[in-house]
Structures are given as C-alpha cells and as structure tokens.
Subunit: 107 residues, 2 copies
C-alpha cells in the first residue's frame, strides 16, 4: 500500500534507468558526461533519468563547477527489501497454517 514502494518499482522498471543505477552502485560516483558516454542514449535522456532516480531517492547529486556528480543511495532500496520480505512472510504464515491444519487432521 505504501507509496514509496510504488515509486521504487516504477523507477526501476525502466532498463536504461536501472542500468544507470547499477553503474553507480558498481563504480561509485560518476559525472553525467561519464554516464552518458556508455549509456547508449543522449545526454538529455540521461539527465532526465537521473532526475527521476534522484526524485525516488535512489541517487544523490553533488555539484562541482560545471559538472554534476551522481552517486547511488543504497538505503533507498530498503522498502523494496521490506516488500519482498513481507510477501515471503505471508507465504510462510500460510505454510505454517497448513502445517497446523495437517497436524490437527492428524490427531
């Protein structure tokens, strides 16, 4: 139900955006130019995606002269981890309930 999960999923759904985030995770802080060089899309597109990633809290930007450095904010992935854990938890609960049922049937 939480809206932050929705933002995260929608933001990471795009391959180009996810690739940018992955590069920032793998290689650390990068400038827009460096990211554009191997992104396969134009610089304005990269800037737009970085803006969306920033709005989702997945990246930070740091201005230095005329270039902007972006870096991954890994903590922002927490809601995603929580969601998967929650889903797994529900499954576990239902599994436990099934176990209980089988035990009761066994008696």
């Amino acid at each position: 139900m939480s809206d932050t999960q929705d933002v995260l999923f929608r933001t990471l759904a795009d391959p180009t955006r996810r690739a940018l985030f992955e590069r920032l995770c793998r290689e650390g802080e990068k400038t827009v130019g460096a990211l554009t060089a191997r992104a396969g899309v134009s610089q304005p597109v990269v800037s737009k995606h970085l803006g969306i990633l920033k709005q989702a809290g997945l990246v930070r930007d740091r201005h230095e002269g005329r270039q902007t450095h972006y870096s991954a904010q890994l903590g922002a992935l927490a809601p995603l981890v929580d969601w998967t854990s929650e889903m797994a938890g529900f499954w576990q609960n239902r599994f436990d309930q099934l176990e209980d049922l089988l035990k009761r049937m066994d008696q």
Copy 2:
C-alpha cells in the same frame, strides 16, 4: 543484465498487478471472480494482469470446471532478491575499498 530481472521489475511496476500478487500472497489461492470482486477494475483487465503475472512466473493457474484458480509462486521473487543483494554487495565492496585506502593512508 539478466532479462528475468527486467521482466520482474516491469511486471511488478503496475499497482493493480502488484495488488493482485499481494492478495494472492496474503490470502492464498483465489478464483478470477474473487479477485475481480475487490480489484477495482473489470474482469477482462484482471484476466490480462493475471496472464502477465503468469508469464513472469509469479503466479500459477489451476483450472477447475469453468473457473480458474490462481496462486502466488513466491520463488519467482528470487531474482529480485538477488539483484538487491548484488547492488548491496557492490556498495559493500566499494566501502571495503575505501576502508583499505584509509588504512593505507594511515600508515
């Protein structure tokens, strides 16, 4: 790079679809009719979303007479968990590298 991750993210990006999957996780197996009752969208839309979820491996369907029962396939979430772990791992590596650098500088 893996394509299964892309499918998962794209599939779960839609709120309606994620809500359907969540209900199946929480409440277990449901028929299309039962899901439609509280989905807020029409039955054909529910069917379409279930088809997409099935194609992504997130749900199973079981035919019984004229109704179809759907249930969550939680194992399909594994690539998503792997991806987040991988991203966290990269971050950890870079943190370790920073630690090493600081240690070397300290000497």
